[in-house]
């Protein structure tokens, strides 16, 4: 058997070197360094941890009946018995914020994950294969983007009673579209890079190219986009609740709580309004800041600053 020519060995080594350069495997120390140097990011992580603890651990410590309505306790101001007062239907407002936070965060995370995953797969396939397949897949995306979201939601809400899984599905169904476009664009760009062409020349199959060379290179963009999707989903869910299209009672979310507070805006029941508003703003802001920090980590150029 003939041994590989020295030149071929050199080619392989050069390619591997190039590949390593263009596909940085970040060591954990540098990631943590970059992240921890961003004080805003650290703060946002802390806030998110507190928000999660408030929503999911809070009810274990602070017990309240969120399933029953007691009109005799409607609109009570904060007191030792009800730390944040009561809702228009007599439910403890602090407990309500915790329960509402659970569904809000569940929807945010689930939509972020689902829309990012589906958008990645769709966009990568469309961008990499190209041609008629790309055209068809992207026209599907365009067609779905042209459907008015509110119409879609109102129609669904009229057919079935909204639940958290349904709302996750509905928001995900529209959220993945922009991700798919983004990923397709990145894929179209990356597949023209020399190292991808070289890998192809060395006999890498499509699956390997997508898995090894293309997907990892859109990962940074994708994760940043994913965090934005989480924030968007939280806002959309809150907006749906605000518009009365959220989950049905006794379930709730922060948007629904906010809407109830707005209904009592002129009565001065601040405890029904401000806490939900602050929680929404804090959470969305923290997720967005976290997204920026993650982008910094993945952008080597920025990380070197």
């Amino acid at each position: 058997m003939a041994t590989p020519a020295p030149l071929e060995n050199e080619q392989v080594q050069t390619f591997q070197k190039l590949n390593t350069t263009l596909h940085p495997r970040k060591n954990s120390t540098s990631v943590i360094d970059v992240f921890s140097s961003n004080k805003l990011a650290v703060g946002s992580v802390l806030i998110l941890m507190l928000v999660f603890a408030f929503a999911f651990l809070g009810p274990l410590i602070y017990h309240s009946d969120q399933a029953s309505t007691n009109l005799a306790l409607e609109n009570l101001p904060p007191s030792s018995r009800h730390i944040l007062g009561t809702s228009p239907t007599g439910k403890d407002e602090l407990g309500r914020l915790m329960v509402g936070g659970q569904s809000t965060l569940e929807v945010g995370l689930a939509v972020g994950l689902l829309s990012t995953t589906f958008g990645l797969v769709w966009g990568t396939i469309a961008g990499y294969i190209g041609g008629a397949v790309d055209a068809l897949m992207m026209r599907i995306v365009d067609a779905m983007l042209s459907i008015p979201f509110l119409f879609f939601v109102v129609l669904l809400a009229a057919i079935v009673t909204p639940t958290v899984p349904l709302i996750i599905f509905v928001i995900s169904a529209v959220s993945w579209l922009s991700t798919a476009r983004l990923v397709r664009g990145e894929t179209l760009k990356i597949k023209t890079y020399d190292y991808v062409i070289a890998a192809k020349g060395f006999g890498s199959n499509n699956r390997h190219l997508i898995k090894r060379h293309i997907s990892p290179n859109v990962l940074g963009t994708l994760i940043v986009n994913g965090t934005l999707k989480v924030a968007d989903a939280i806002l959309i869910f809150a907006s749906l609740g605000y518009l009365g299209l959220g989950v049905a009672p006794p379930a709730t979310n922060w948007g629904t709580i906010l809407a109830a507070g707005v209904n009592n805006i002129f009565n001065g029941y601040w405890w029904q309004l401000w806490p939900a508003a602050v929680l929404i703003i804090l959470t969305v802001l923290s997720v967005n800041v976290l997204g920026d920090a993650v982008r910094d980590v993945f952008e080597r150029r920025l990380a070197r600053r």
Binding site: L71, P88, F149, V154, A158, L235, A238, A259, N264, N267
Partner: protein, 616 residues
């Protein structure tokens, strides 16, 4: 009911989010803004958009004036539309006289009717009214109405099979000012006058009897096909809201008001005084119907002085004292309506459940009216135990209907259900353990092991309503009944609930926010034919031969005993779930505007009586 069309509602995700978020933040910020101390009632003077001596009146948020023809179809059958229509085209007999649920004969177009031939003929004499173009209102105008109504009845919302015009055997013109309706059988004169003759509106035949705008007026209504073509043409023109202010059809009126301007985007409608009105000329030069997208916007308009006659929702009753100090008078508007939740009799899923009398009675036991009145309604309403409005002093309410036959009791509700074969299942809710149709069985159509669960659709955005519904669901849960709450927007309610029955319906119970129905707008005697009679639209498809017979008797037997028998039966049968009827609104009126009190019993504003202090 009307299906609203959101103009230009083209939402994309991004814009939706932005709009929603900024809207929410805007409202949040509004909560901390200081209250305006602008003086109230500036319309006595000219504002930028309201002419001098014009008063402004706010419709409830979301309501818009969008129909002019006083022959409404089901999609355009709204009290605020009809009231404005009747301001231009006065009906033969005007329903409601101040706070009294009676005919206002003084304001009517005709003298009180004369019944003869054993109450089988009624003769009506017109008063000497004139159209705004100087022509007299004659029996030809009534005949024109008759022909259009008779030949297009299935498309007209006020039509009830068997009632007018089906119960009329002939329409006879005696003279230009007198006509006779010969009836197929003797009638209760009070019912016929109050609920049938009030539907008749003389229409300007000499202007409207044509099939296109350019066509010359003829006598097309005298044939069936001609009447149908004319009706189709008028209906089409009435749907062209952008032409309201310019269409020559709507220029000739016999009422006190003429349509002066209309904004098809905002539905802001300006009416000018009809200087040639044959009755008492209004003191105002005109009035404006304002439509606001939200209650917040409406309240802002009040505070800024650009609105003279507005309202606050019951949930905001706290701010009444503040508004009072800012130059407004606060007054609850009590109306002759009844609030009920329809039951889904025609629903394949829930119909078998709500058709059982004992289930309906148990559900009624779970409605805690005293609690709702003392909490979310803040006493702005009337207890309701049956189909007749329970307003203080009403002669129409039977002694039985003045007390609750099914007072709030979770124990009694559960006991009634358990005595019919329902047992608590593993989920904590009742399941049918004794299917069948016997006295101690669950009832026809109910399967063994079936959970006692009902979907309850209700309108979002009103704490007054959602508080009651959620409280009801909590009580039901305690009794073992699973109430699956399904809050929906107003437009969805109208499109999903409004067309059902004939269904099939996917709701077991449905409750509207502002659906405080009377007996067909314009009906005075609360006999309920349109609501609980055969083929009804708003009774959930309820039909009971006994109830139907009792309703029919109210149409033929003079006196109130037949009415009492009907209402007692329907109340006892829980044809619908009775909820407390809350006041139409808490009115907030500028102290500069006078003559608005008493507020009309059917919820219709009466601008003909209004005037500004020190004004014209």
């Amino acid at each position: 009911m009307k299906r609203r069309i959101v103009k230009g509602a083209r939402f994309h995700l991004a814009s939706f989010k932005a709009v929603s978020l900024f809207g929410a933040l805007g409202l949040v910020l509004a909560s901390c803004s200081s209250s305006s101390s602008a003086s109230a009632g500036s319309s006595a003077k000219a504002t930028s958009s309201t002419p001098p001596n014009y008063a402004t009146f706010a419709l409830h948020s979301g309501d818009t004036y969008s129909w002019v023809l006083p022959l409404p179809n089901q999609a355009n059958y709204e009290p605020w539309d009809q009231n404005a229509e009747y301001g231009m085209y006065r009906p033969l007999y005007v329903a409601g006289n101040g706070s009294q649920p009676v005919i206002n004969f003084g304001a009517s177009m005709a003298n009180p009717p004369t019944y003869t031939n054993n109450n089988q003929s009624v003769t009506i004499t017109l008063k000497p009214y004139k159209w705004s173009d100087g022509r007299s209102v004659t029996t030809r105008d009534v005949e024109f109405f008759w022909n259009l109504y008779k030949n297009n009845k299935s498309q007209i919302a006020t039509y009830v099979p068997g009632n007018f015009p089906d119960n009329v055997s002939s329409f006879v013109i005696n003279s230009p000012t007198s006509f006779t309706l010969n009836l197929k059988s003797p009638v209760n004169p009070t019912w016929f006058t109050d609920n049938q003759l009030t539907d008749i509106v003389p229409l300007p035949q000499h202007v409207w009897d044509k099939t296109s705008l350019t066509q010359k007026v003829g006598n097309y209504d005298l044939t069936t096909s001609g009447a149908q073509t004319v009706f189709k043409f008028l209906t089409k023109e009435s749907s062209q809201v952008s032409t309201y202010a310019t269409n020559p059809l709507w220029k000739v009126v016999d009422g006190p008001w003429k349509l002066q301007a209309y904004n098809p985007t905002t539905a802001r409608t300006v009416f000018a005084r009809n200087a040639n009105f044959s009755g008492a000329i209004p003191k105002l030069s005109g009035y404006v119907l304002e439509s606001y997208p939200s209650q917040t916007a409406e309240l802002d308009a009040l505070r800024s002085g650009s609105l003279d006659y507005g309202y606050i929702p019951i949930s905001d009753y706290h701010i009444a004292s503040t508004l009072k100090s800012q130059g407004f008078t606060i007054a609850p508007w009590v109306t002759d309506y009844v609030q009920w939740a329809e039951l889904g009799y025609t629903s394949p899923k829930y119909g078998p459940l709500v058709k059982q009398l004992y289930i309906r009675q148990a559900l009624q036991h779970l409605v805690n009216e005293p609690l709702y009145m003392s909490t979310v309604l803040h006493s702005y309403g009337q207890y309701t135990y049956g189909p007749v409005p329970n307003i203080p002093g009403s002669p129409y309410v039977s002694p039985q209907e003045q007390s609750n036959p099914y007072p709030y009791s979770v124990t009694q509700a559960k006991s009634a259900l358990e005595s019919h074969g329902w047992k608590t299942g593993s989920s904590g809710y009742l399941v049918c353990s004794s299917p069948g149709t016997g006295g101690s069985n669950c009832g026809a159509g109910i399967k063994p092991g079936q959970k006692l669960a009902l979907s309850f659709m209700y309108q979002t955005g009103t704490p007054t309503l959602s508080g009651q519904v959620q409280s009801f669901a909590t009580a039901a849960k305690a009794a073992g009944v699973d109430i699956i709450l399904n809050p929906q927007s107003q437009s969805t309610m109208f499109s999903v609930g409004g067309v059902c029955p004939p269904g099939p319906c996917n709701w077991g119970i449905i409750l509207y926010r502002t659906f405080l129905w009377n007996y067909g707008q314009g009906d005075v005697l609360p006999t309920g034919g349109q609501i609980f009679g055969k083929g009804n639209y708003w009774g959930g498809g309820y039909y009971d031969p006994v109830a139907q017979q009792l309703i029919n008797t109210t149409h033929t037997q003079p006196g109130l005993q037949s009415l009492f028998a009907y209402e007692n039966y329907v109340s006892q049968q829980v044809a619908a779930l009775w909820f407390p009827t809350w006041d139409w609104q808490i009115s907030v009126v500028s102290n500069k505007l006078k003559g608005w009190n008493p507020q009309q019993i059917f919820g219709n504003p009466q601008p003909s009586r209004w005037y500004f202090s020190g004004g014209a």
